[in-house]
Symmetry: C2
Subunit: 227 residues, 2 copies
């Protein structure tokens, strides 16, 4: 059985990929270069894909930065040191318009071509930044649409399932699950705004969620610099 896994290079998608592999799927990985502020994520995605032993890894360029509207693609400053309740409030400026819809659409195209009925992605609706396209109701709506969208589904050859195995897990639970599956989180990359050498800022929402997750799991992040 084949599955497409969306790999961003981050901790969550690496774990989702490890879960898909543990469930017995042959993996086809898709990463999307959508005009992120830095390349470290995509380099991490390639490392994670190699570690997962995927059958094929595609990196597709789609220049969402051109449309603008996000701190992750524009020259808008990434928020730092936000209080925890700010993270729980409205959708932050790091939101990229329709990103997961574009990513899943490309994943669906790849899935149809390779004959995979299963798509895995590492979205999470607990320790997350409040993005609308990480919620269970969104994932279900995408799945319903996908099954009306393609030749393979309307001809009855594939029934798509969109798996978001981390969606109700805390960051600590995700990390524990990944560690149990042997994921080396030293291969991953999380920060929204690293320095030019690729060192995480440790102050953006993504860095802080990661750090809180390792702390709550009682584990040391392999990306922690030596003291």
């Amino acid at each position: 059985m084949k599955a497409v896994v969306l790999l961003s290079g981050g901790l969550d998608s690496a774990t989702a990929g490890a879960i898909a592999r543990a469930e017995g799927f042959e993996l086809y990985a898709l990463s999307v270069d959508y005009g992120q502020r830095h390349r470290f994520e995509l380099e991490a995605a390639a490392r994670v894909a190699a570690w997962l032993g995927v059958k094929r890894h595609e990196t597709m360029a789609v220049d969402l930065a051109r449309f603008g509207g996000s701190a992750l693609t524009d020259r808008i400053e990434v928020p730092k040191d936000q209080p925890a309740d700010a993270m729980a409030g409205e959708v932050p400026i790091t939101y990229v318009p329709a990103r997961n819809t574009v990513l899943l659409s490309l994943g669906l195209a790849l899935a149809e071509v390779v004959g995979a009925a299963d798509l895995y992605l590492g979205v999470n609706a607990i320790d997350y930044s409040g993005y609308p396209d990480c919620r269970p109701e969104y994932i279900r709506a995408f799945e319903a649409m996908a099954n009306l969208a393609t030749k393979a589904s309307v001809e009855g050859r594939l029934r798509y399932r969109v798996h978001a195995p981390l969606i109700t897990m805390t960051k600590a639970q995700i990390i524990c699950r990944g560690v149990a599956l042997g994921v080396n989180y030293g291969l991953t990359f999380t920060c929204y705004d690293p320095d030019p050498r690729g060192r995480p800022c440790r102050r953006c929402d993504a860095c802080r969620l990661r750090s809180k997750g390792f702390a709550e799991a009682g584990l040391v992040d392999p990306l922690t610099p030596a003291p």
Copy 2:
């Protein structure tokens, strides 16, 4: 009011754009270079966008050809001179995996960035090639998903509507409607497999549907060569 219109360069999307304009929208056009076999479509899209007087025209490159799986992007031969009942049967080889889902996803991203609630596309489920992502149930499912996907919709600022005004029209009706709105179909391009100078083959499904449409409308296609 703003609307995003997907412009392929073909007859249908030009008509959908003219309808959106007639309904009073300020237009943002999106074309997608997905690795089509030829560039004539995209050149036509630029002509149509200029004729419509759009506020902005984006052409986004997304290399779906890389995934393969279609006569429109692969080195697979485009079928010619098919009997009419073959067209009414199963999904043809010119189907591009998940194309309309990728196109609409990019349209959704642009719509969110510019603040447009309305998306127009020229899909048609009558005189068409049998593509699953041209059917009304697909369009409704995409719309439902879109309203769960974005910051603008979950915050209640935009309620997306996906308009497919041609979906139940015959090709002849589409042409009559467009002519009434002043569309110059000489600007458009339809053929799946033109010669290197951009002359339509007149034998693929797209050419034959166009030709049948003009004949049934009792009109002469401005692309018809002089006798």
